[in-house]
């Protein structure tokens, strides 16, 4: 262990360089996005399922919807309270949430996910 000092100095420099991005961004985390609800969504108070469920599971729910609508021919959604909805991204979800930029996009951008829903589904059915 003749080069003990050199080795430890090198190791220290290596660790600092590798962890630099973490030090650099410490305390600068982007704030969680705030979602804006449209007047219609606010008035409805609740989505097709409770808000916590929707926040966490809307992607799974949409996947169930698309599978059952396209492949199963089932288009009606009956929630816990027995309320009926047409299973349609364009006509049901986006009817209330007609502000994609301030609702869908804010979270998706924050989480860095890029769903390709809008390649086909027209994002604003009301053209507001």
């Amino acid at each position: 262990m003749k080069d003990k000092n050199k080795i430890f100095a090198g190791l220290a420099i290596f660790i600092v360089v590798v962890t630099l991005p973490f030090w650099f961004n410490l305390g600068k985390a982007a704030p969680a996005p705030e979602l804006e609800l449209t007047a219609k969504a606010k008035a409805a108070k609740t989505c097709v399922m409770p808000t916590e469920f929707m926040t966490a599971n809307h992607m799974q729910l949409l996947d169930v919807w698309r599978h059952n609508v396209v492949r199963g021919g089932e288009r009606m959604f009956v929630n816990d309270d027995g309320k009926l909805y047409d299973m349609s991204l364009s006509n049901t979800c986006l009817d209330c949430h007609s502000n994609k930029e301030k609702f869908c996009d804010r979270c998706h951008d924050y989480a860095s996910v890029r769903p390709y829903c809008w390649d086909c589904h027209i994002d604003n059915p009301k053209g507001e």
Binding site: V48, V70, G72, G73
Partner: protein, 261 residues
């Protein structure tokens, strides 16, 4: 003594396994019990059939002008891009063709001139034995419960095997983003994206809410629609009373679109 120790260890091992398995099983059981509290169903107005079929009375559709509103109704409702100039990139759901192109196996040297020069409406035949469905590697195209050959655009990878398999040319490929070429967007129906195959869906989305297909509605009674296996359906009544032909029947795909000539 030796034997009983072995026995003891065996019992101890099995019990340990049983005790360890219980919490896991409990977790699975509770998961299914706390599953989402919703259920899915078909709409109340949804129409069902064993095999939807269409009978086109070509005697009532004598000129290209007669076909135009029918084709336009479909294009509008399904966001079919009609503005593509390049013939190779064209998207067609329902279109007009000459007798010789429509009925390649029935074009005799001398046929009734009147029939020969009639325009024929072509669309996906929703075959009972569809070769496109067998060709699709992802099951993006499949036969649904009502006999409709459906496209699940989410699953289409754009390999175009189905286009090669379809003997009727009923499928089109989106070589480019179709959106700029849609004349008037119907916001209630999705468009397609670049790289997927599309075709007529017998208006599955309209049948699900109790409406007849758009072309049938726009045809002023020239096109009939119904269940092929319901003896009293409109299509069966028409098939009983009229001589009909189908496209390329000899291939054995059993098309569900019949033409009264």
């Amino acid at each position: 003594m030796k034997n009983s120790r072995r026995r003891f260890l065996q019992i101890a091992g099995v019990s340990a396994l049983g005790l360890g398995a219980k919490p896991v099983l409990d977790a699975f059981a509770s998961e299914s019990a706390h599953g989402p509290g919703y259920h899915l169903a078909k709409g109340e107005d949804a129409m069902d059939a064993r095999q939807w079929a269409m009978v086109i009375d070509t005697r009532k559709l004598q000129t290209a002008e007669d076909l135009e509103p029918i084709i336009e109704a479909c294009n509008k409702i399904h966001n079919v891009p009609t503005g593509i100039k390049n013939k190779n990139h064209e998207i067609k759901w329902i279109w007009e063709a000459h007798y010789h192109n429509a009925f390649t196996d029935k074009a005799g040297q001398f046929t009734s001139e009147e029939v020969e020069h009639r325009p024929f409406l072509l669309l996906c035949n929703h075959c009972e034995n569809p070769p496109c469905v067998r060709a699709c590697p992802t099951k993006a195209t499949f036969k649904n419960d009502n006999g409709i050959v459906m496209m699940d655009f989410h699953r289409c990878i754009g390999c175009r095997f189905c286009m090669a398999a379809c003997p009727f040319g009923a499928r089109s490929f989106n070589f480019r983003d179709p959106r700029p070429f849609i004349e008037e967007e119907n916001k209630a129906f999705p468009t397609r994206m670049k790289g997927v195959v599309e075709k007529c869906n017998f208006c599955a989305e309209r049948l699900a809410v109790g409406k007849m297909p758009a072309c049938v509605e726009a045809s002023n009674g020239a096109i009939a629609f119904g269940d092929l296996y319901d003896e009293h359906s409109e299509v069966r009544e028409l098939l009983k009373e009229n001589y009909t032909i189908r496209r390329k029947q000899t291939l054995g795909t059993e098309p569900s679109v019949y033409y009264i000539v």
